[in-house]
Protein backbone atom coordinates (compact mmCIF):
# COMPACT_ATOMS: atom_id res chain seq x y z
CA UNK A 1 0.00 0.00 0.00
CA UNK A 2 1.75 3.18 -1.14
CA UNK A 3 2.14 5.94 1.39
CA UNK A 4 -0.81 8.29 1.52
CA UNK A 5 -0.26 11.65 -0.07
CA UNK A 6 -0.85 14.71 2.06
CA UNK A 7 -3.27 17.24 0.66
CA UNK A 8 -3.92 20.78 1.76
CA UNK A 9 -6.88 22.90 0.67
CA UNK A 10 -7.07 26.60 1.34
CA UNK A 11 -9.35 29.44 0.30
CA UNK A 12 -8.17 33.03 0.06
CA UNK A 13 -10.67 35.64 -1.16
CA UNK A 14 -13.56 34.19 -3.07
CA UNK A 15 -16.64 32.13 -2.47
CA UNK A 16 -16.59 28.52 -1.28
CA UNK A 17 -17.73 26.93 -4.49
CA UNK A 18 -14.35 25.38 -5.34
CA UNK A 19 -14.05 23.70 -1.98
CA UNK A 20 -17.64 22.52 -2.19
CA UNK A 21 -16.74 21.10 -5.59
CA UNK A 22 -14.07 18.98 -3.90
CA UNK A 23 -16.58 17.78 -1.32
CA UNK A 24 -18.98 16.93 -4.06
CA UNK A 25 -16.67 14.76 -6.13
CA UNK A 26 -18.52 11.87 -7.64
CA UNK A 27 -20.67 11.54 -4.52
CA UNK A 28 -17.82 9.73 -2.87
CA UNK A 29 -15.87 12.27 -0.97
CA UNK A 30 -15.24 9.69 1.71
CA UNK A 31 -13.27 7.54 -0.72
CA UNK A 32 -10.72 10.32 -1.14
CA UNK A 33 -9.27 9.43 2.19
CA UNK A 34 -8.41 5.91 1.17
CA UNK A 35 -5.55 7.30 -0.89
CA UNK A 36 -4.85 10.68 0.54
CA UNK A 37 -4.70 12.34 3.87
CA UNK A 38 -6.37 15.70 4.02
CA UNK A 39 -3.97 17.22 6.43
CA UNK A 40 -4.85 20.89 6.19
CA UNK A 41 -8.30 22.19 5.32
CA UNK A 42 -9.56 25.10 7.43
CA UNK A 43 -13.06 25.09 5.90
CA UNK A 44 -13.86 21.51 6.87
CA UNK A 45 -11.30 20.53 9.49
CA UNK A 46 -10.55 23.85 11.13
CA UNK A 47 -6.83 23.25 10.66
CA UNK A 48 -4.74 26.00 12.19
CA UNK A 49 -1.49 27.35 10.80
CA UNK A 50 0.49 25.65 13.48
CA UNK A 51 -0.81 22.33 12.20
CA UNK A 52 0.74 23.22 8.87
CA UNK A 53 4.05 24.03 10.52
CA UNK A 54 4.05 20.64 12.21
CA UNK A 55 3.98 18.80 8.92
CA UNK A 56 7.27 18.09 7.26
CA UNK A 57 5.87 18.49 3.80
CA UNK A 58 2.55 18.71 2.03
CA UNK A 59 2.46 16.85 -1.25
CA UNK A 60 -0.25 18.82 -3.00
CA UNK A 61 -1.92 22.06 -2.09
CA UNK A 62 -5.18 23.09 -3.74
CA UNK A 63 -5.32 26.83 -3.42
CA UNK A 64 -8.58 28.62 -4.23
CA UNK A 65 -9.47 32.27 -4.15
CA UNK A 66 -7.73 35.41 -5.36
CA UNK A 67 -5.07 37.31 -3.44
CA UNK A 68 -6.77 40.42 -2.11
CA UNK A 69 -5.29 41.11 1.31
CA UNK A 70 -1.92 40.74 2.94
CA UNK A 71 -3.13 37.69 4.81
CA UNK A 72 -4.02 36.01 1.51
CA UNK A 73 -0.47 36.67 0.35
CA UNK A 74 1.02 35.34 3.57
CA UNK A 75 -1.08 32.22 3.27
CA UNK A 76 0.07 31.67 -0.30
CA UNK A 77 3.72 32.07 0.69
CA UNK A 78 3.42 29.76 3.68
CA UNK A 79 1.67 27.08 1.72
CA UNK A 80 4.15 27.37 -1.13
CA UNK A 81 6.94 26.93 1.32
CA UNK A 82 5.52 23.71 2.67
CA UNK A 83 4.08 22.16 -0.45
CA UNK A 84 5.74 20.16 -3.11
CA UNK A 85 3.09 21.06 -5.64
CA UNK A 86 0.70 24.00 -5.77
CA UNK A 87 -2.44 23.77 -7.79
CA UNK A 88 -4.42 26.93 -8.50
CA UNK A 89 -7.99 25.75 -8.26
CA UNK A 90 -10.76 27.78 -9.80
CA UNK A 91 -10.75 30.96 -11.85
CA UNK A 92 -9.96 33.18 -8.87
CA UNK A 93 -6.69 31.46 -8.01
CA UNK A 94 -5.80 30.76 -11.62
CA UNK A 95 -6.46 34.20 -13.11
CA UNK A 96 -7.88 36.49 -10.46
CA UNK A 97 -11.48 35.64 -11.19
CA UNK A 98 -14.39 37.98 -10.61
CA UNK A 99 -12.73 39.74 -7.67
CA UNK A 100 -10.08 40.79 -10.23
CA UNK A 101 -12.56 43.12 -11.91
CA UNK A 102 -11.91 45.56 -9.13
CA UNK A 103 -8.54 46.34 -10.72
CA UNK A 104 -10.44 48.23 -13.36
CA UNK A 105 -12.81 50.06 -11.04
CA UNK A 106 -12.56 53.85 -10.96
CA UNK A 107 -9.96 54.80 -8.40
CA UNK A 108 -12.44 56.76 -6.25
CA UNK A 109 -14.45 53.59 -5.65
CA UNK A 110 -11.35 51.63 -4.69
CA UNK A 111 -9.90 54.31 -2.48
CA UNK A 112 -13.21 54.73 -0.69
CA UNK A 113 -13.58 51.13 0.26
CA UNK A 114 -10.02 51.03 1.58
CA UNK A 115 -10.28 54.18 3.66
CA UNK A 116 -13.52 53.37 5.27
CA UNK A 117 -12.14 50.44 7.11
CA UNK A 118 -8.39 50.94 7.25
CA UNK A 119 -8.36 54.64 7.90
CA UNK A 120 -7.66 56.27 11.24
CA UNK A 121 -10.91 58.19 11.13
CA UNK A 122 -13.06 55.38 12.46
CA UNK A 123 -15.18 57.04 15.06
CA UNK A 124 -15.72 54.25 17.46
CA UNK A 125 -12.18 53.48 18.48
CA UNK A 126 -12.39 52.66 22.15
CA UNK A 127 -9.60 52.71 24.63
CA UNK A 128 -7.68 49.49 24.76
CA UNK A 129 -6.55 47.37 21.89
CA UNK A 130 -8.71 46.63 18.98
CA UNK A 131 -7.72 44.03 16.47
CA UNK A 132 -6.56 45.22 13.11
CA UNK A 133 -7.47 43.85 9.73
CA UNK A 134 -5.17 42.45 7.08
CA UNK A 135 -4.45 45.31 4.70
CA UNK A 136 -5.97 45.31 1.26
CA UNK A 137 -3.37 45.21 -1.44
CA UNK A 138 -3.12 47.74 -4.22
CA UNK A 139 -4.59 45.32 -6.70
CA UNK A 140 -6.09 41.83 -6.82
CA UNK A 141 -3.60 39.18 -7.94
CA UNK A 142 -3.89 35.65 -9.17
CA UNK A 143 -1.94 33.00 -7.27
CA UNK A 144 0.66 32.67 -10.03
CA UNK A 145 1.53 36.34 -9.67
CA UNK A 146 2.57 35.76 -6.08
CA UNK A 147 4.15 32.29 -6.01
CA UNK A 148 5.18 29.62 -8.48
CA UNK A 149 2.28 27.42 -9.41
CA UNK A 150 2.63 23.98 -10.94
CA UNK A 151 -0.84 23.29 -12.25
CA UNK A 152 -4.08 25.09 -12.94
CA UNK A 153 -7.62 23.79 -12.72
CA UNK A 154 -9.68 26.66 -14.14
CA UNK A 155 -13.40 27.32 -14.12
CA UNK A 156 -15.94 29.07 -12.01
CA UNK A 157 -16.63 26.66 -10.46
CA UNK A 158 -14.22 24.04 -11.82
CA UNK A 159 -15.75 21.03 -13.49
CA UNK A 160 -15.93 17.74 -11.66
CA UNK A 161 -14.12 15.72 -14.27
CA UNK A 162 -11.03 17.91 -14.36
CA UNK A 163 -10.94 18.29 -10.63
CA UNK A 164 -11.08 14.53 -10.27
CA UNK A 165 -8.42 14.12 -12.97
CA UNK A 166 -6.21 16.59 -11.13
CA UNK A 167 -6.68 14.83 -7.82
CA UNK A 168 -6.07 11.41 -9.27
CA UNK A 169 -3.12 12.39 -11.40
CA UNK A 170 -1.37 14.46 -8.81
CA UNK A 171 -2.47 13.17 -5.47
CA UNK A 172 -2.79 9.54 -6.28
CA UNK A 173 -0.26 9.21 -9.09
CA UNK A 174 -2.12 6.10 -9.99
CA UNK A 175 -1.13 3.88 -12.85
CA UNK A 176 -4.38 2.26 -13.76
CA UNK A 177 -6.10 4.07 -16.63
CA UNK A 178 -9.38 2.59 -15.50
CA UNK A 179 -9.38 4.94 -12.58
CA UNK A 180 -9.42 7.97 -14.77
CA UNK A 181 -12.68 9.28 -16.10
CA UNK A 182 -13.15 10.28 -19.69
CA UNK A 183 -11.40 13.53 -18.86
CA UNK A 184 -8.16 11.93 -19.94
CA UNK A 185 -9.62 11.96 -23.44
CA UNK A 186 -10.19 15.64 -23.17
CA UNK A 187 -6.87 16.63 -21.72
CA UNK A 188 -4.08 17.69 -24.05
CA UNK A 189 -2.19 14.71 -25.28
CA UNK A 190 0.98 15.33 -23.34
CA UNK A 191 -0.95 15.50 -20.10
CA UNK A 192 -3.11 12.51 -20.81
CA UNK A 193 -0.11 10.40 -21.64
CA UNK A 194 1.66 11.52 -18.53
CA UNK A 195 -1.31 10.78 -16.35
CA UNK A 196 -2.02 7.37 -17.78
CA UNK A 197 1.60 6.42 -17.35
CA UNK A 198 1.56 7.55 -13.77
CA UNK A 199 4.01 10.45 -13.99
CA UNK A 200 3.40 14.10 -13.32
CA UNK A 201 2.35 16.28 -16.24
CA UNK A 202 4.69 19.08 -17.30
CA UNK A 203 4.82 22.11 -15.03
CA UNK A 204 2.37 24.85 -15.93
CA UNK A 205 -0.19 22.44 -17.34
CA UNK A 206 -3.77 23.50 -17.28
CA UNK A 207 -6.36 20.83 -16.57
CA UNK A 208 -8.69 21.60 -19.40
CA UNK A 209 -8.86 21.13 -23.14
CA UNK A 210 -6.47 22.78 -25.55
CA UNK A 211 -8.84 24.02 -28.20
CA UNK A 212 -11.37 26.80 -27.90
CA UNK A 213 -14.84 26.32 -26.46
CA UNK A 214 -16.24 26.40 -29.98
CA UNK A 215 -14.92 22.87 -30.41
CA UNK A 216 -17.22 21.55 -27.70
CA UNK A 217 -20.11 23.96 -28.07
CA UNK A 218 -23.20 22.25 -29.40
CA UNK A 219 -24.35 25.10 -31.56
CA UNK A 220 -24.08 25.09 -35.33
CA UNK A 221 -21.76 27.55 -36.95
CA UNK A 222 -22.57 29.03 -40.32
CA UNK A 223 -21.31 32.27 -41.70
CA UNK A 224 -19.63 34.61 -39.31
CA UNK A 225 -21.14 37.94 -40.14
CA UNK A 226 -23.38 40.17 -38.17
CA UNK A 227 -24.68 43.61 -38.78
CA UNK A 228 -25.97 44.54 -35.43
CA UNK A 229 -24.62 43.89 -32.04
CA UNK A 230 -27.24 42.52 -29.66
CA UNK A 231 -27.30 42.75 -25.90
CA UNK A 232 -28.55 39.66 -24.10
CA UNK A 233 -31.71 41.38 -22.97
CA UNK A 234 -32.67 42.60 -26.40
CA UNK A 235 -33.50 39.33 -28.02
CA UNK A 236 -33.98 35.68 -27.27
CA UNK A 237 -31.25 33.72 -29.05
CA UNK A 238 -32.14 31.02 -31.51
CA UNK A 239 -31.16 27.96 -29.54
CA UNK A 240 -29.41 26.11 -32.31
CA UNK A 241 -27.09 28.62 -33.84
CA UNK A 242 -23.76 30.12 -32.81
CA UNK A 243 -24.29 33.09 -30.50
CA UNK A 244 -21.56 35.21 -32.03
CA UNK A 245 -23.28 34.89 -35.38
CA UNK A 246 -26.47 36.19 -33.85
CA UNK A 247 -24.78 39.34 -32.67
CA UNK A 248 -24.03 38.42 -29.07
CA UNK A 249 -20.48 38.74 -27.83
CA UNK A 250 -19.33 35.26 -26.88
CA UNK A 251 -15.88 34.61 -25.45
CA UNK A 252 -15.83 31.05 -26.63
CA UNK A 253 -13.35 31.75 -29.40
CA UNK A 254 -10.56 32.71 -27.02
CA UNK A 255 -11.44 30.51 -24.07
CA UNK A 256 -10.20 27.04 -23.31
CA UNK A 257 -12.68 24.26 -23.68
CA UNK A 258 -13.40 21.70 -21.04
CA UNK A 259 -16.61 22.93 -19.52
CA UNK A 260 -18.56 21.20 -22.23
CA UNK A 261 -20.14 24.44 -23.35
CA UNK A 262 -22.34 24.77 -20.27
CA UNK A 263 -23.21 28.42 -20.69
CA UNK A 264 -23.90 28.31 -24.41
CA UNK A 265 -26.07 25.25 -23.87
CA UNK A 266 -28.05 27.27 -21.34
CA UNK A 267 -28.62 30.03 -23.85
CA UNK A 268 -25.98 32.44 -22.58
CA UNK A 269 -22.70 33.59 -24.02
CA UNK A 270 -19.44 32.23 -22.74
CA UNK A 271 -17.63 34.66 -20.49
CA UNK A 272 -14.28 32.96 -20.36
CA UNK A 273 -14.04 31.37 -16.93
CA UNK A 274 -11.57 28.78 -18.18
CA UNK A 275 -9.07 31.42 -19.24
CA UNK A 276 -7.46 32.01 -22.58
CA UNK A 277 -6.10 29.30 -24.86
CA UNK A 278 -2.34 28.97 -25.23
CA UNK A 279 -2.25 30.33 -28.76
CA UNK A 280 -3.82 33.61 -27.77
CA UNK A 281 -1.48 36.30 -26.50
CA UNK A 282 -4.20 38.34 -24.84
CA UNK A 283 -7.95 37.76 -25.07
CA UNK A 284 -8.75 41.47 -25.45
CA UNK A 285 -7.10 42.24 -28.78
CA UNK A 286 -7.97 38.78 -30.03
CA UNK A 287 -11.66 39.39 -29.46
CA UNK A 288 -11.29 42.82 -31.06
CA UNK A 289 -9.78 41.16 -34.08
CA UNK A 290 -12.34 38.37 -34.22
CA UNK A 291 -15.39 40.53 -33.79
CA UNK A 292 -14.11 43.18 -36.19
CA UNK A 293 -13.59 40.56 -38.85
CA UNK A 294 -17.33 39.95 -38.88
CA UNK A 295 -18.12 43.51 -39.86
CA UNK A 296 -19.31 43.98 -43.40
CA UNK A 297 -18.80 47.63 -44.12
CA UNK A 298 -15.94 49.65 -45.60
CA UNK A 299 -17.29 52.93 -44.49
CA UNK A 300 -15.72 54.40 -41.34
CA UNK A 301 -18.93 56.13 -40.32
CA UNK A 302 -20.94 52.94 -40.49
CA UNK A 303 -18.30 50.98 -38.66
CA UNK A 304 -18.11 53.66 -35.98
CA UNK A 305 -21.82 53.54 -35.42
CA UNK A 306 -21.81 49.73 -35.13
CA UNK A 307 -18.95 49.87 -32.66
CA UNK A 308 -20.78 52.47 -30.65
CA UNK A 309 -23.31 49.84 -29.61
CA UNK A 310 -20.65 47.73 -27.90
CA UNK A 311 -20.46 48.39 -24.21
CA UNK A 312 -17.99 47.47 -21.50
CA UNK A 313 -15.63 45.54 -23.74
CA UNK A 314 -12.96 45.15 -21.10
CA UNK A 315 -15.37 44.03 -18.40
CA UNK A 316 -16.87 41.43 -20.67
CA UNK A 317 -13.71 40.07 -22.24
CA UNK A 318 -11.67 40.04 -19.06
CA UNK A 319 -14.55 39.07 -16.79
CA UNK A 320 -12.62 36.30 -15.04
CA UNK A 321 -9.10 36.98 -16.17
CA UNK A 322 -8.40 40.66 -15.62
CA UNK A 323 -5.84 40.13 -12.90
CA UNK A 324 -3.46 37.95 -14.81
CA UNK A 325 -4.33 37.73 -18.49
CA UNK A 326 -4.83 41.36 -19.33
CA UNK A 327 -1.41 42.49 -20.47
CA UNK A 328 -2.15 46.16 -20.09
CA UNK A 329 -3.26 45.92 -16.49
CA UNK A 330 -1.16 43.20 -15.02
CA UNK A 331 2.37 43.16 -13.80
CA UNK A 332 3.77 39.65 -13.83
Amino acid sequence: MPKKKKIAVYAATGCRACEQAILDIHYQVGSLTRWAELSFWPYILGSEWKKLEEQSEIDVCFFTGAIRTSSDRQAALRLRDKSRLMIALGACAAFGGLPGLVNMAPSEVRKESREETNGPNSRTREKGEEPNLPRMEERVSALSQVVDVEYFVPGCPPRQNFLWAAIQAIAFETESPVRLSFSALRLPQAMAQAITSGVLPPKGSVFSGERAVCASCARTKEKKQFKEFARPWQKDPDQGRCLLEQGFICQGIVTREGCGGVCTAAGLSCRGCFGKTDEVFDPGPKMVSAVSSTFDSDNPIEIASTVDQFVDLAGTIYRYTLASQCTLLSSP
Binding site: D282, S292, D312, L328, L329
Partner: protein, 154 residues
Protein backbone atom coordinates in the same frame (compact mmCIF):
# COMPACT_ATOMS: atom_id res chain seq x y z
CA UNK B 1 9.59 72.77 -19.20
CA UNK B 2 8.32 69.39 -20.04
CA UNK B 3 11.29 67.18 -20.70
CA UNK B 4 9.22 64.12 -21.48
CA UNK B 5 10.18 62.59 -24.80
CA UNK B 6 7.45 60.35 -26.12
CA UNK B 7 8.30 57.01 -27.68
CA UNK B 8 6.13 56.25 -30.70
CA UNK B 9 6.14 52.86 -32.34
CA UNK B 10 5.17 52.98 -36.00
CA UNK B 11 4.08 49.98 -38.05
CA UNK B 12 4.63 51.01 -41.68
CA UNK B 13 3.50 48.98 -44.64
CA UNK B 14 6.19 47.90 -47.08
CA UNK B 15 4.46 49.18 -50.23
CA UNK B 16 3.32 52.65 -49.25
CA UNK B 17 4.08 54.25 -45.94
CA UNK B 18 7.49 52.75 -45.46
CA UNK B 19 8.52 54.03 -48.89
CA UNK B 20 7.19 57.46 -47.91
CA UNK B 21 9.19 57.39 -44.70
CA UNK B 22 12.26 56.31 -46.57
CA UNK B 23 11.97 59.12 -49.11
CA UNK B 24 11.37 61.56 -46.29
CA UNK B 25 14.71 60.48 -44.89
CA UNK B 26 16.49 60.69 -48.21
CA UNK B 27 15.02 64.11 -48.89
CA UNK B 28 16.15 65.27 -45.44
CA UNK B 29 12.71 66.48 -44.45
CA UNK B 30 12.81 67.57 -40.81
CA UNK B 31 11.33 65.01 -38.46
CA UNK B 32 11.42 64.65 -34.75
CA UNK B 33 13.39 61.62 -33.62
CA UNK B 34 10.83 60.01 -31.32
CA UNK B 35 9.69 57.28 -33.71
CA UNK B 36 10.78 53.66 -33.93
CA UNK B 37 9.71 51.97 -37.13
CA UNK B 38 8.68 48.38 -37.75
CA UNK B 39 8.20 47.45 -41.38
CA UNK B 40 5.32 45.11 -42.09
CA UNK B 41 4.02 43.88 -45.41
CA UNK B 42 0.56 45.24 -44.94
CA UNK B 43 -1.24 47.34 -42.38
CA UNK B 44 -3.73 44.47 -42.24
CA UNK B 45 -0.96 42.34 -40.82
CA UNK B 46 -0.83 44.33 -37.64
CA UNK B 47 -2.64 42.16 -35.11
CA UNK B 48 -4.21 44.21 -32.32
CA UNK B 49 -2.11 42.05 -29.98
CA UNK B 50 1.03 43.81 -31.23
CA UNK B 51 -0.50 47.15 -30.37
CA UNK B 52 -1.44 45.95 -26.90
CA UNK B 53 2.00 44.51 -26.37
CA UNK B 54 3.60 47.76 -27.47
CA UNK B 55 1.61 49.72 -24.94
CA UNK B 56 2.28 47.20 -22.21
CA UNK B 57 6.01 47.53 -22.80
CA UNK B 58 5.84 51.29 -22.40
CA UNK B 59 5.19 52.82 -25.82
CA UNK B 60 3.57 56.22 -25.44
CA UNK B 61 1.91 56.06 -28.84
CA UNK B 62 1.41 53.58 -31.65
CA UNK B 63 0.92 54.44 -35.29
CA UNK B 64 -0.23 52.07 -38.00
CA UNK B 65 0.15 53.56 -41.48
CA UNK B 66 -1.10 51.81 -44.60
CA UNK B 67 -2.05 52.47 -48.19
CA UNK B 68 -5.08 54.54 -49.07
CA UNK B 69 -8.26 52.47 -49.42
CA UNK B 70 -8.33 51.00 -52.90
CA UNK B 71 -4.54 50.99 -53.22
CA UNK B 72 -3.71 48.08 -50.96
CA UNK B 73 -1.19 45.73 -52.50
CA UNK B 74 -3.21 42.84 -51.08
CA UNK B 75 -6.55 44.38 -52.10
CA UNK B 76 -8.29 44.75 -48.76
CA UNK B 77 -5.71 44.44 -46.03
CA UNK B 78 -6.02 48.07 -45.10
CA UNK B 79 -9.77 47.75 -44.82
CA UNK B 80 -9.30 44.96 -42.29
CA UNK B 81 -7.03 47.26 -40.34
CA UNK B 82 -9.70 49.94 -40.53
CA UNK B 83 -12.38 47.65 -39.19
CA UNK B 84 -10.25 46.63 -36.25
CA UNK B 85 -9.18 50.08 -35.27
CA UNK B 86 -12.52 51.18 -33.83
CA UNK B 87 -12.97 48.35 -31.35
CA UNK B 88 -9.29 48.47 -30.52
CA UNK B 89 -9.48 52.13 -29.58
CA UNK B 90 -12.52 51.40 -27.47
CA UNK B 91 -10.77 48.59 -25.62
CA UNK B 92 -7.64 50.67 -25.07
CA UNK B 93 -9.58 53.58 -23.66
CA UNK B 94 -11.51 51.34 -21.29
CA UNK B 95 -8.22 50.05 -19.95
CA UNK B 96 -6.83 53.52 -19.40
CA UNK B 97 -4.86 54.14 -22.59
CA UNK B 98 -6.30 57.25 -24.23
CA UNK B 99 -7.72 56.76 -27.71
CA UNK B 100 -5.47 59.44 -29.16
CA UNK B 101 -2.38 57.36 -28.49
CA UNK B 102 -3.29 54.90 -31.22
CA UNK B 103 -3.65 56.13 -34.80
CA UNK B 104 -4.43 54.47 -38.07
CA UNK B 105 -3.47 56.62 -41.07
CA UNK B 106 -3.22 56.30 -44.85
CA UNK B 107 0.03 57.41 -46.48
CA UNK B 108 0.88 56.78 -50.12
CA UNK B 109 4.42 56.08 -51.31
CA UNK B 110 4.43 59.46 -53.00
CA UNK B 111 3.58 61.40 -49.86
CA UNK B 112 6.74 61.78 -47.76
CA UNK B 113 5.75 65.25 -46.61
CA UNK B 114 2.39 63.95 -45.43
CA UNK B 115 4.22 61.29 -43.47
CA UNK B 116 6.49 63.82 -41.83
CA UNK B 117 3.64 66.16 -40.91
CA UNK B 118 1.73 63.26 -39.44
CA UNK B 119 4.63 62.09 -37.33
CA UNK B 120 5.48 65.51 -36.05
CA UNK B 121 1.89 66.25 -35.15
CA UNK B 122 1.42 62.94 -33.45
CA UNK B 123 4.55 63.36 -31.37
CA UNK B 124 3.34 66.70 -30.12
CA UNK B 125 -0.12 65.42 -29.33
CA UNK B 126 1.27 62.50 -27.40
CA UNK B 127 3.65 64.80 -25.59
CA UNK B 128 0.64 66.76 -24.42
CA UNK B 129 -1.02 63.61 -23.20
CA UNK B 130 2.02 62.73 -21.15
CA UNK B 131 3.75 59.41 -20.56
CA UNK B 132 1.95 56.12 -21.00
CA UNK B 133 -0.40 55.91 -17.98
CA UNK B 134 0.46 52.25 -17.56
CA UNK B 135 4.14 52.93 -17.07
CA UNK B 136 4.17 50.89 -13.91
CA UNK B 137 4.45 47.86 -16.13
CA UNK B 138 7.96 48.98 -17.00
CA UNK B 139 9.50 46.70 -14.36
CA UNK B 140 7.86 43.86 -16.21
CA UNK B 141 9.61 44.99 -19.37
CA UNK B 142 12.87 44.51 -17.55
CA UNK B 143 11.95 40.98 -16.58
CA UNK B 144 10.66 40.35 -20.06
CA UNK B 145 12.12 37.04 -21.06
CA UNK B 146 12.10 38.06 -24.68
CA UNK B 147 15.71 39.06 -24.67
CA UNK B 148 15.81 39.39 -28.45
CA UNK B 149 14.46 42.91 -28.01
CA UNK B 150 17.21 43.85 -25.67
CA UNK B 151 19.97 42.39 -27.78
CA UNK B 152 18.79 44.52 -30.70
CA UNK B 153 19.27 47.60 -28.62
CA UNK B 154 15.62 48.60 -28.54
Amino acid sequence: MNDFEPKILAFLCNWCSYVAADSAGVSRLTQKPNVRIIRVFCSGMVDPSYVVKAFSLGADGVLVAGCHPGDCHYISGNIKALRRSFLLKKLLSELGVEEERFRLEWVAASEPQRYVNLINRMIEEVRQLGPNPLRRSYPSAEKEKNSRLRSHGL
